[in-house]
Symmetry: C2
Subunit: 244 residues, 2 copies
């Protein structure tokens, strides 16, 4: 049976981390909210599950994955679940190392979101622009180099070499790292200008993931939506500037 | 061998979610940074691991757990790891439901943190007070009722009854839910005024966890530090007001 991925239509957002794992593994899945609103598909199907008064295990927000009766919520948790099913995670205790890295990526993604929504996720960007400029400045000066420097060291210090975040084979966190690097380039092109020189292992990982046949196919397909200003990674020129 | 918990001394913070699981299970552990700085203890021991250039699996930030050579980073991930070792999580696929809830708690905790640090975690609260008042107001009006209403529904819709978040026995997410409710009462006493009437199942869960013998012993011990204004849950009267 195909996995059902529930996430907003029209943006990559957090759902994209899940899509990359499903696409790499060529796992059968339905991107429910992007299907026509019939046969239990569409965004209404997603909202019906979130608002259900009878489901035993309701999600707080998308993305969530439905596998038969089981609903798995939270991006990193979905990847934990799929990682073991799709052979995109170690079977031993290193799976906790992979998951810890994925949760650190999740923290970075939340901080990226908050550069354009520092006050209220329910308000428009335009209504919190001043605070957004302050937060984005701090992000570029302090948080971005801290996160990227950390992930670069993770690659450097991998005893199996810098080609993967953990161990010597691909895991879901490599795919997510690709997505983060791609998103940061889109949102903060000026701040990321010297990225490849400063973080060569991260740059190489990004390129290696993009070149994987199943990922390359996916990125060239219509299923891969372009980055845009309704997602997490948004390009607002006034929030982007050169890093120190 | 005792687990080694690495977290800042002097505050509950995110480390407290881990402590509650260890204390409930009466698992042997060393709260490394709170030990005297000798024999590889103290905050320096924690920072040495974070800054290590040789460790194969470095953490980004505390808390992290060391179990022999394995370093498990990220609060929810530590609980996932300990949950299976300490019998505080289901063995079947429901463990993903528990973990999804824990990650939703982690999101709430981050939002609580950002009520006092909406612009930069590296700046003082006093230097971002105006933005903090705006963010805290939105948190009280919109986010807090959304999260609490969701968790109340999770209890209500548990097919095994509202005594636990998942299934019919205690899991680590019940312990974390206790901590969140206690912290919210400390930080936002005015906003939480009608909490027990609005969220009766959550209030009952909080009280039931507090009354568990091992937790009650822990809460009465010196190991439980009081909430204070260096932790996540801070009481700043100017950020607290009655909910609608």
């Amino acid at each position: 049976m195909a996995y059902e991925l529930h996430y907003w239509d029209g943006l990559q957002g957090r759902g994209e981390f899940v899509r990359l794992a499903l696409e790499e593994a060529r796992a059968p899945y339905i991107d429910v909210a992007r299907e026509r609103a019939q046969d239990g598909h569409g965004e209404d199907a997603m909202l019906a599950l979130i608002n259900s008064r009878t489901e035993p295990h309701i999600p707080f927000a998308p993305p969530f994955l439905k596998d038969g009766d089981l609903i798995v919520a939270q991006t990193a948790n979905i990847l934990l679940y799929l990682g073991s099913k799709l052979h995109l995670a170690p079977q031993d205790d290193l799976r906790y190392v992979v998951h810890g890295l994925q949760l650190t990526i999740a923290d970075l993604v939340t901080e990226v979101h908050d550069t354009h929504h520092p006050i209220a996720s329910g308000l428009y960007y335009e209504d919190q622009k001043e605070a957004a400029e302050a937060r984005a400045g701090d992000f570029i000066d302090h948080r971005l180099p801290k996160f990227l420097g950390y992930f670069e060291r993770v690659l450097e210090q991998n005893p199996h070499g810098p080609r993967h975040m953990v161990g010597k084979t691909l895991t879901y966190v490599d795919l997510s790292m690709f997505q983060v690097v791609a998103g940061l380039h889109y949102a903060f092109s000026r701040a990321m200008k010297r990225f490849a020189a400063r973080y060569p292992h991260l740059a190489a990982l990004h390129d290696a993931v993009a070149a994987r046949p199943n990922i390359a196919d996916y990125l060239a397909s219509e299923r891969r939506l372009p980055f845009n200003e309704t997602g997490i990674f948004r390009h607002y020129p006034e929030l982007d500037r050169a890093a120190h």
